[in-house]
């Protein structure tokens, strides 16, 4: 199929803009990252940071007034950005599936979950009716829904939030996609359910040897799940690298700020730190570094010159003029 060394997804210089009345919004501004085979990538950033837009850009589902303006989205070596709508329809669901934030609204309230699962298989497989049904039951069992056969006839409102998200995951996985984009999959769930669902997703992805992009604002979720982390700020990548290194020693002040705002169960911590200020207006970004107005380490150069990505070694890179020293504990 393709070279083993090639990543499953290779996003290069992706630019997605929204042409609104109030000005052009660079929701995604030259973002590059790769997702390896069998790898879980965490895409982290604050609200309005362009995380979800990246997911929709990959699938070619950016609606007017938005537009993917530049960059390449290489999925298994194929550029998705140049594909036609009908080609993309064959990829959506079959090759790349998506799990949404709110399981209360991501299922059609008027169809049984059996019908909704079956629809995916009819669209993306050649199985006959009986085989599809067997597959649906198997899939429901896989995501931990008991009495699957009976449950197929149930409507979404007959399930609890956590159960619905399990169904959503089952629907996403059923056609055997190679990449799952999970957009805040646990944000709408009770905390007690969150970790169950995360573990389930992780196991499903690993068992099927699929890859996943986990979009979230919650570094705690990412640290539990991801292999690689990409931190976004104002539509740009500010830092990326393998999970352990990045969490242990963040190089960008923004990453450090995000980490500092997570409560820790162990160890002494006098106060949770917060990042001062708010995300700047994306229609009117300041010159220089986007983060400088909130950055405790900002210097004159940060106001003049936009920091470019630079490698830190060990697969890490950061876009900061003054990356934090090695050994700066978060």
């Amino acid at each position: 199929m393709s070279a083993a060394g090639q990543p499953l997804l290779d996003v290069r210089g992706l630019e997605t803009r929204f042409y609104t009345f109030a000005g052009v919004v660079n929701a995604v501004d030259g973002v590059s990252f790769t997702v390896g085979r069998g790898e879980i990538l965490g895409l982290v950033g604050e609200s309005g940071g362009g995380k979800s837009v990246i997911g929709f850009s990959i699938l070619g589902l950016i609606d007017s007034p938005g537009k993917v303006d530049g960059g390449e989205i290489l999925f298994d070596g194929d550029d998705l950005a140049g594909k036609s709508e009908s080609e993309l329809q064959r990829i959506r669901g079959r090759e790349i599936a998506m799990v949404f934030q709110d399981p209360m609204t991501s299922l059609n309230p008027l169809q049984t979950i059996g019908q909704q699962m079956d629809e995916m298989l009819r669209l993306h497989s050649d199985l006959d009716g009986r085989a599809r049904r067997a597959r649906c039951i198997e899939m429901l069992n896989d995501v931990g829904i008991s009495e699957a056969e009976r449950r197929l006839k149930n409507y979404p409102h007959q399930f609890s939030g956590g159960m619905r998200q399990r169904v959503v995951i089952a629907i996403a996985m059923i056609a055997g996609p190679r990449l799952i984009i999970a957009d805040e999959p646990t944000t709408a769930l009770d905390v007690t359910i969150q970790s169950q669902i995360l573990k389930l997703m992780r196991r499903q992805v690993r068992e099927r040897d699929a890859s996943m992009i986990l979009i979230t604002h919650d570094l705690a979720v990412v640290s539990q799940m991801a292999d690689q982390i990409v931190v976004l700020y104002c539509g740009r990548v500010v830092e990326q690298g393998p999970k352990e290194a990045l969490i242990r020693k963040p190089a960008h002040p923004y990453t450090q700020g995000l980490l500092g705002s997570i409560p820790k169960l162990h160890g002494r911590q006098a106060r949770l730190t917060q990042i001062p200020g708010a995300v700047p207006d994306v229609r009117n970004l300041p010159k220089g570094c986007n983060f400088r107005e909130r950055c405790p380490f900002a210097q004159a150069r940060c106001a003049e010159e936009e920091p470019q990505q630079r490698a830190l070694g060990a697969g890490r890179s950061v876009a900061c003029h003054f990356p934090l020293e090695e050994g700066t504990e978060a």
């Binding site: 589902l61 007017s64 064959r90 669901g93 609204t105 299922l107 059609n108 995916m120 629907i171």
Partner: protein, 290 residues
Amino acid sequence: MQGFLKSEFFFNYRRSASAIIGSALMLLFAVYVAFGPWLVAQNPHDIASLELLDSFKPPAWLPGGDPRYPLGTDGQGRDMLASIVYGARISVMIGVVAMLCSCFIGTALGLLAGFYRGAVDSFIMRVADIQLSFPSILIALFLMSAVGTGIDKVLIALTAVGWVVYARTVRGSTLSEIEKEYVQAARVAGLPDRKIILKHVLPNVLTPLIVIATIQVGTFVLIEASLSFLGVGVPITQPSLGLLVKNGFDVLFSGLWWTSAFPGLAIMILVFGINLFGDFLRDELNPRLK
């Protein structure tokens, strides 16, 4: 059926006087419309069965009344009750068929406008605005002067006005529905637009239409009656309730009030029943009032 009898809908129905009265009146008309020819003695459209000597008989309970004609007769000796039954058939048929046409066209256009937005939306909604600025009577007059009268022309005139309310409602619901994640999920799943619209959006925007459709039958009966009263509605060979009122109106001031009053009363009862039941449906199906 068991499920229906135990449903909340039926529970509320049994406790709502207006719903029971409204549906009883609708049922009465439905029975007459379906079985009318077997329930009345005379076929008013069959000249051979008419007795000219019986013309302008007053209702049966008045002096000079004839028990064969409970509501009296008109100038051709037609039994008013039979005329009303036959007329109601035409009125209800026009109301229902025009409603179905409006609903179909309006829903289809509303779905397209809401789903595709942009130029499609602007075009359909501007046509709707223009449409609304023409009263149905004016459209009927245009049609009549161009192609003559007839039930089909009345249907076209009513549909031309009636589709707009469906298009607007469906467009609004579609706009809010396609923002929901299950529609996004359907797109992400690789479903073609046609399937998303028909299988996911359409079923979820239908509920408010039930109310609109019910009430609209009543409205259409009224509009058709006005059109016929003005002489631009149904042809004289197929007298609807409105045309009966008009025919009676010509002799109203000669004291022959029953030829006009009873068809008018029939229209009133029919529309009243439809509106009562429509109001109940609106309260029942509106999630915000729950």
